[in-house]
Amino acid sequence: MAKDEIKSEYRLIGTRPNRPDGLDKVTGRARYGADMTLPGMLFAAVVRSPHAHARILKIDASAALALDGVKAVVTRADFPTGLTGEDWNLQENSMAGDVALYDGHAVAAVAATSRLLAEDAAKLIKIDYEVLPHVIDVDDAIRPDAPVVRVGAADHTVPAGSPPNVVKCLDFGHGDIEAGFSAADLVREHTYKTEATHQGYIEPHACVAQLGADGKGEMWVCTQGQWYIRRMCAAVLGIDASGLRVTPSEIGGGFGGKTIIFMEPLALALSRKAGGRPVKLVMSRSDVLRATGPTASASMDVKLGMTKDGKLTAAKVNFRMQGGAFLGASPVGEALSCALACYDIPAVQHDGVEVLANRPKAAAYRAPGSPMAAFAVESLLDEMCHELGLDPLDVRLKNAVREGVKASYGPTYAKIGLVEVLEATKAHPNLLAPLGPNQGRGIASGFWFNHGGETSVSLAIGEDGTVTVSAGTPDIGGSRASLALMVAETLGIEYEAVRVNIVETGALGVNEPSHGSRATFATGKAAVEAARHAMAEMCRRAAKEWGIEEEAVVWKDGAAMPAGPNAGKFPPMSIAEIGAKMGGNGGPISGHHETNADGVGASFGAHVVDVEVDPETGRTTILRYLVVQDAGRAIHPAYVEGQYQGGAVQGIGWALNEEYVYGANGRLQNAVFLDYRIPVASDLPMIDTVIVEVPNPGHPYGVRGVGETGITPPLPAIANAVAMATGARIRSLPLSPPKVLAAIKAKGRG
């Protein structure tokens, strides 16, 4: 049932107006990363390593530079030295130093007067390599005798004598783990694997960059976070952050993958070397798949203890993840923290390691780490429910976390909605749909923390009483609509009277990117505060004009009015009136708020999927799919449903067909969408959604953030459904037809 059919205490919150950016997007007017053109602009091409691991012996660009129209070639020699930590990681990932660390690693870049000329010139840059041994798979990479990806990359958490590619170790937990397993009637332990997948955003990375010899520059770029891009590029190039002005383009998807830099510093370096001419750099899809952040691949052990009536007594998880050739790129910490977050378990122990491999630097991907962890834990939980003859939904309800429970990852939960989500799931008609032969139903829960973060918002009253909001979080999921709704609700004006602009780095204080499901939560919270700030000022202007105390004026229904009969008898002064008079009555009126937003509310979800598996080919068809998730409050229900559906679909792709396929030579074999198999529309049924609303007390309208939880349950839900349909339990993803058919045949052989 849609929220907006229920009687609401709000005028606008929970309605479904058209998105402000909708017309531009459907008519092609919206300007994306590659749509910018500047006078004198050059075009860039990047030379990438064809080897998974190779020492760069020599780079000879003389033939390229001899071409008429080639204006600059850059290599690592054009970047400053001495960087450390994540700054070094970003620089090294942008452009290889002595060693190319993965297939697709940038080695040189060229700028020329046309794109074709730049591509021809790139082919003329001659690079001599000494090919080194490489390692791709996470379990291979952790072996003591594995090829060493980088010497000395481990941090202080790694004990001496560990295998050479182990760079980080984590462990945490609480409760008496041995006593917990002793109290169980059933203890089971299995190992699970997931492959790396890509965010698959439809818009490849693109930018137009300009940088002068004075260290001042500008960049137009497709990004989730213009301040992050600014800070990272400044560090990699050795310039002042404030010297670079970054303007975000419209964005065709990010899912976490556009929160960091890849080729942006190359465009800036080329511009600087070409005398400050602007340089456009647009990635191809193959570049995107080979050289931008996929997520990590994982190998995971899970051990659970359960009583015969379904109460979890203890849980132990041990995860190994690779996030490419760079320390800190894998989400192993998040994976461990999310693994058991749905359940109230007396004793939990988490152990994890990060391992280097010759693969691209992993970037955030929608609830980083949580989907893999859920695949392992929710698969085992399902198996144990079936072994004990228990209903998997009832068992999840029985163990569900609620307010006041100590979370598996440490803190105590505030108000959360997992119980409400599971109850709504149980009541849904999809659970009553009959199943035929070769069909199965799978259920799983999922969790994401959500995030607050650095946020700065300004709001200005126009001369006609309309309102402009300046926000720093790029709109990837309908946040302009949700911000406009919240501001209009707060000010008591119409939705259409509010325009939300996503602004450049010079216009506001630092904002974190649109990541962590934070835009509607944190930017929304700051925008409401900014609106209240402007409201207070408008009340002061009215008080001044009326000659009464400002405490005697209140704001109601889009106008200032006397607080009561004692304040005086004045007609309400509308926002339009105040706007029209403000020039002669104290000057411009704006509201502003900046915060490190606290009060974050976690979001829990549950998915139910029905599948049919062709027993002769192992091919899985999704018949029915249900997403139930706590939104806190759905500001714009259509975009909340869109987030639920999008998360489910990306999870379906991850579960069924998406994977990075490497050849024995360490080269990526499927760097095109033909062979990197994201679901197509005809693969999918309509994804059913239920928005549960357990308001978050930490947000003025109860928002939790909804973008990420939805990709967490699909992996195990589908694996559980396939297990029911085939009788074969598969503990590695993807559930591609060859793998499923092999499992069906193995079961037949007994």
């Binding site: 591509e119 396929v661 679901p679 037809p737």
Partner: protein
């Protein structure tokens, strides 16, 4: 790169004969332009054949067969009611290529000359017994479709030779054909295995049959043993089992990013039986 627009096949031949570098003929362009954009093949001479009179036509021949022009798109084939009624397997193979947009351009001739062992339209043409007319520096000749592909990306066409038309034989009474492919998704994908079968009936018994397999060898396979397993039967379980055994035995697949040897052999057997049932039903007039 030079782009040419000849109005006769003879002019096209002359341009090709004078070309010195990489030459590509352009029909629908759904392979050539994609390869150009991806930097895989950058032709020095691109010879567009779409302006030659007749290349957009689908024509009934005197013997009751069909001649299909080399620039006829998949969408045009799919909307040709008489052709679809007689050769549904040929048309459904072509109509599986790419997206709706690609269907507006992609052609049988292009799919054949691209040389992919996974080409979706080729097994159907082979099973149908289709032939092609070819013009070249040494005159014209006619070739069976199965004699065109050589290996992935290569054909037996000689340098400068151009396919000028595709010919389907008369369908005759009590004939039916079908094409099935396996892909992990539902569309926009490349066949992991493809199977086409064309057969004719004498009453309930299969009188003639041709079985073609795609994506399980370096080029399309015409499997005589598989056809023999069908001929003289009523497609009973024994015949289907013999068909599956013959098809699986003929398949020589590889393991790659799209499937394994074992999986492709298993699916070859599955598709052979499923395709045969559809072709048989169509021949009986039960399904179109």
């Amino acid at each position: 790169m030079h782009y040419h627009k000849p109005h006769t096949f003879e002019d096209a031949l002359k341009i090709a004969a004078n070309a010195r570098g990489v030459t590509r003929f352009l029909a629908g362009g759904t392979d050539v332009l994609v390869q150009l954009r991806a930097g895989i093949v950058t032709p020095d001479d691109l010879i567009d054949l779409k302006l030659i009179p007749g290349v957009h036509d689908i024509a009934r021949t005197a013997d009751g067969g069909w001649t299909i022009g080399i620039a006829v798109s998949g969408a045009e084939l799919g909307r040709h009611a008489a052709l679809v009624a007689e050769w549904p397997g040929v048309v459904e193979g072509m109509n599986l290529v790419g997206s709706t947009q690609v269907q507006g351009r992609a052609t049988l001739a292009g799919n054949l000359c691209n040389g992919s062992p996974a080409a979706d339209s080729v097994p159907g043409l082979v099973a149908a017994g289709a032939t092609v007319s070819v013009i070249g520096p040494n005159g014209t000749r006619k070739l069976a479709v199965e004699d065109i592909p050589a290996s992935p990306g290569r054909t037996h066409l000689q340098a400068g030779e151009i396919v000028t038309a595709i010919h389907l034989p008369p369908r005759g009474a009590q004939g039916g054909d079908a094409y099935l492919r396996f892909i992990p998704r539902t569309e926009m994908d490349i066949a992991v295995v493809g199977c086409a079968i064309s057969l004719t009936l004498d009453g309930d018994k299969i009188a003639t049959a041709r079985v073609a397999l795609g994506a399980v060898a370096p080029k399309v396979l015409l499997v005589a043993d598989a056809a023999a397993a069908l001929i003289g039967t009523t497609l009973d379980d024994k015949a289907l089992a013999a068909l599956q055994a013959a098809a699986t035995a003929a398949a020589q697949p590889i393991t790659d990013r799209r499937g394994t040897v074992e999986f492709r052999k298993d699916v070859t057997a599955v598709l052979a039986a499923r395709t045969a049932r559809i072709a048989y039903a169509r021949a009986k007039g039960a399904v179109k």
